[in-house]
């Protein structure tokens, strides 16, 4: 039987309309794939770097989530023996010689909580999410050969890797990792003698995060430059997919806020090592008075949250971009209100810089200044609500394909609404008097930027997995993963709102010894069980991920989802440089679904006679 050769319309268009940059005249590809090390390890190909970020992020996610299971066990079952964890945790489990009861050391409980926060916020949801998808999609969706500087891009990953190594090493210190909370407020972070983790643990934490800041800055400079400079012919700003808009604004936020964290850390290091008093005032500790005079820990909080608040948008904006794109593709409809989506991203980006003090209402900030921050915090609800409205309107009367990426996108919207609404409560400085530092806050931010961002990331992973590995992930496992995570996540965090309203404080090691909170024992037990179930559901995803890499259903066509964007016009196994021949030329916006009776029209397709551009 003769082979049937099908010619893709994409290939015809690429040949006919494409932009010739004479890429194929130079034999870059061969040089690139010359050996294992330059291809898989010190790779400068953005697609490989994206996968490196993703897999490193996944390893950290397992560690970070595993830590939460250990401290949830402590909270849910304070009277059960944890002796079985001794082989894993060693001296951090003390065993009562008479009863044989093993209990978690309180110091280590704090270390676990601190590391859980640091790892998930920075290593998983910043590097693992925006690092992965900015790298993968910016060049592919813009029609560029690679990032503006592939070398800086490689450095960006390896700085992240070094940060990871240092942080991982700190987990095994005899004094334990840093334990003063992921925000590292002084004096716990500034005085090495303040607690066990404040010594070497904190030193390594700072080194790790400085390396991480370098990684984010190198990546961000690259993403911004690529978006501004290397868009292919015809790719105007208003023809960029929403993913790119989101990554672009995310990179700007990172570029402008991480240096502030760096200077905050620099002053912190001076306090720790050189005896300055930026953050430390008169302190009496371990039987002696220290020399520090006149410093203010609130100053650190200002510098930290000037990064810290944009940071939550650095986490959520990429997820929003991924969800918008995945949703339009699988609803077979243009995204509703494209321009408003873009303006909302820009508005959120701008507002994120002038709301930081809402993390400090109860830190002794002038209440009149608080009012300013209340107003801007509540205004963020406007662009957020516009986005939510547009997502729902995109779904309305859509020809929905309820596959795993789509389910996670819809789940994202659900989580974002649930978590966002409680943000309106907490943004009021008066209500915050009662709610601050309670489980209400824990519930709020886990749903709105933790689970929601994970949902966006999962939508992205399931959707672009074929682009990354040339195979599909298993749908059945994916759907089990989705439902277990959706129901499980609500089961974990919904009850925490009630705990918070009842005034149950965060960060406590156990509650049964307090009369006021003793009655919540069963609720804590329920939350812990839900957390364990959700944790194992994530392992299912990890298995699916690695299994599908080798045994998943093979991708046979270039554009399996019927998407309009450029990444699906590259070969199934795209080499370095992405397009083997000419670069694509763009003729329309990325959301022409169901237009003029056609299912979808690729961005490559020139405008027909008399056709007007949508949006």
């Amino acid at each position: 039987m003769a082979d049937i050769i099908t010619v893709d319309r994409d290939d015809v268009l690429l040949k006919k309309e494409g932009f010739d940059d004479h890429f194929h005249d130079h034999h870059h590809e061969d040089k690139y794939k010359s050996n294992f090390i330059s291809h898989y390890i010190f790779s400068m190909d953005h697609k490989m770097i994206a996968r490196q970020f993703l897999i490193t992020g996944m390893l950290w996610a397992i560690i970070g989530a595993g830590m939460s299971i250990i401290f949830r066990l402590q909270l849910g079952f304070p009277d059960e023996s944890l002796a079985w964890l001794k082989p894993l945790l060693g001296k951090w489990i003390t065993i009562n010689t008479e009863t044989g009861m093993g209990s978690l050391q309180p110091e280590f409980y704090y270390a676990l909580v601190t590391m859980h926060g640091t790892i998930i916020v920075f290593f998983v949801l910043t590097a693992g999410l925006s690092g992965t998808f900015s790298n993968l999609l910016i060049p592919l969706q813009l029609g560029a050969r690679d990032m503006a500087s592939p070398f800086l891009n490689m450095l960006s990953y390896w700085f992240f890797f070094m940060a990871s190594v240092v942080m991982f090493y700190s987990l095994f210190l005899s004094t334990g990792p840093f334990s003063g909370g992921w925000t590292a407020y002084p004096p716990l972070s500034a005085l090495p003698q303040a607690s066990m983790g404040s010594g070497t643990g904190m030193t390594l934490w700072t080194i790790s995060l400085v390396l991480f800041v370098v990684s984010v800055l190198l990546g961000g400079i690259n993403y911004i430059t690529t978006v501004l400079n290397l868009r292919t012919k015809g790719m105007t700003f208003w023809r960029m997919p929403l993913t790119i808009w989101a990554f672009f604004v995310t990179a700007i936020l990172g570029l402008l806020s991480f240096p502030v964290l760096a200077s905050g850390f620099f002053l912190l290091m001076c306090d720790r090592g050189l005896g300055t008093s930026f953050y430390l005032s008169e302190i009496f500790i371990q039987g002696s008075a220290l020399d520090f005079a006149g410093g203010s820990p609130v100053l650190y909080q200002h510098l930290f949250w000037f990064l810290g608040h944009p940071e939550v948008y650095i986490i959520i904006l990429p997820a929003m971009g991924l969800v918008s794109e995945v949703m339009a593709v699988h609803a077979r409809k243009p995204i509703f209100g494209y321009k408003f989506m873009v303006y909302s991203i820009l508005a959120i980006g701008f507002l994120s810089f002038i709301v930081w003090a809402h993390h400090m209402f109860m830190s002794g900030v002038n209440p009149f200044i608080s009012n300013f921050f209340v107003v801007f915090t509540l205004i963020i609800a406007v662009p957020s609500a516009i986005k939510v409205f547009n997502w729902i309107a995109t779904l309305y009367k859509g020809d929905l394909r309820l596959n795993t990426p789509m389910l996670f996108s819809i789940g994202f919207v659900s989580m974002f609404i649930s978590g966002g609404l409680t943000g309106v409560f907490l943004g009021n400085s008066a209500i915050d008097i009662q709610q601050h530092d309670t489980y209400f806050v824990v519930a709020h931010f886990h749903i709105v930027m933790g689970i929601a961002a994970f949902f966006g990331m999962f939508a992205g992973v399931y959707h672009w997995y074929p682009k990354m590995f040339g195979r599909f992930m298993n749908e059945t496992l994916g759907k089990i993963h989705f439902w277990a995570t959706l129901i499980g996540a609500y089961a974990i965090f919904w009850p925490m709102h009630y705990l918070g309203l009842a005034g149950v404080p965060r960060r406590y090691y156990r509650f049964d010894s307090f009369d006021a909170f003793g009655s919540f024992g069963e609720m804590n037990m329920f939350i812990t069980i839900a957390a364990i179930v959700v944790f194992f559901a994530q392992l299912l995803m990890v298995i699916n991920f690695f299994y599908s890499m080798y045994y998943g259903k093979k991708m046979t066509t270039k554009n399996p989802w019927g998407a309009t964007t450029l990444e699906w016009t590259t070969p199934i196994k795209a080499g370095h440089g992405n397009w083997p021949g000419k670069l694509p030329t763009v003729h329309r916006w990325p959301y022409d679904y169901g237009k003029d009776g056609k299912d979808f029209i690729s961005q490559l397709e020139p405008m027909a006679e008399g056709e007007t551009e949508a949006h």
């Binding site: 932009f19 940059d21 004479h22 890429f23 130079h26 870059h28 040089k31 690139y32 400068m44 060049p139 029609g143 560029a144 050969r145 690679d146 503006a148 500087s149 592939p150 070398f151 800086l152 800055l217 961000g220 400079i221 690259n222 911004i224 430059t225 690529t226 501004l228 400079n229 290397l230 868009r231 292919t232 012919k233 790719m235 570029l255 402008l256 806020s257 991480f258 240096p259 502030v260 200077s263 905050g264 620099f266 002053l267 001076c270 050189l274 005896g275 300055t276 008093s277 930026f278 020399d291 006149g294 410093g295 203010s296 100053l299 200002h302 510098l303 000037f306 370095h576 440089g577 670069l583």
Partner: protein
């Protein structure tokens, strides 16, 4: 192979590397903006020692402004194909750059002899920290000047687009750290 992207279609007339440098400058600016605002907040909280800036800082200002001028002269000589002044002014700029660092160091010593210690009142600590971070960025600039000198003396003199572009990057960064110092001096004088 690292510059394959530079052959791609460009949507902007600005060279991507130059744009990346500007982005990096924005980032450095944010760092000093945050230190300045921390300074203002801490100053407003009271218990703040007022003192005079050492005269060495003014000398530093003259040195670094001069270095910017000589570097610009070197650049214009380069594009006009004048080899000797290009090399001469480049070397002069480099030594003026070193002179700035030395002068800053003398300034710190003067401060210390006046009793302004890093460990003492936060007004002193802020001064040392801000000027130190600035000097670190100047050292980065001096490293760039060294590279430029290497190009000037090791390569055969030829005015090419590529070398012009590289030299421009060095120029932009050096003028930037110069302006940054002028900003810092004005800030420290009047805040």
């Amino acid at each position: 192979m690292a510059d394959i992207t530079l052959k791609s279609h460009r949507s902007s007339r600005v060279h991507p590397q130059k744009f990346a440098l500007w982005a990096a400058m924005a980032s450095i600016t944010m760092m000093f903006a945050s230190l300045s605002s921390a300074y203002i907040v801490r100053q407003a909280a009271g218990n703040w020692l007022e003192f005079q800036l050492p005269s060495a800082f003014y000398i530093s200002t003259i040195i670094i402004l001069l270095s910017s001028m000589t570097l610009h002269k070197s650049y214009t000589s380069f594009i006009n194909g004048q080899e000797r002044p290009y090399k001469l002014y480049l070397v002069v700029s480099f030594f003026l750059g070193l002179g700035f660092v030395v002068s800053q160091y003398i300034g710190w010593q003067n401060l210390y002899s006046l009793g302004i210690d890093l460990k003492g009142n936060p007004s002193g600590s802020f001064l040392y920290v801000m000027t130190f971070i600035h000097v670190v960025h100047v050292l980065g600039g001096i490293a760039c000047l060294l590279t430029a000198m290497f190009h000037a003396f090791a390569l055969k003199f030829k005015v090419t687009e590529r070398r012009k572009h590289r030299f421009e990057l060095v120029n932009h960064y050096w003028h930037y750290v110069d302006l940054l110092w002028v900003y810092l001096l004005i800030f420290l004088l009047f805040s």
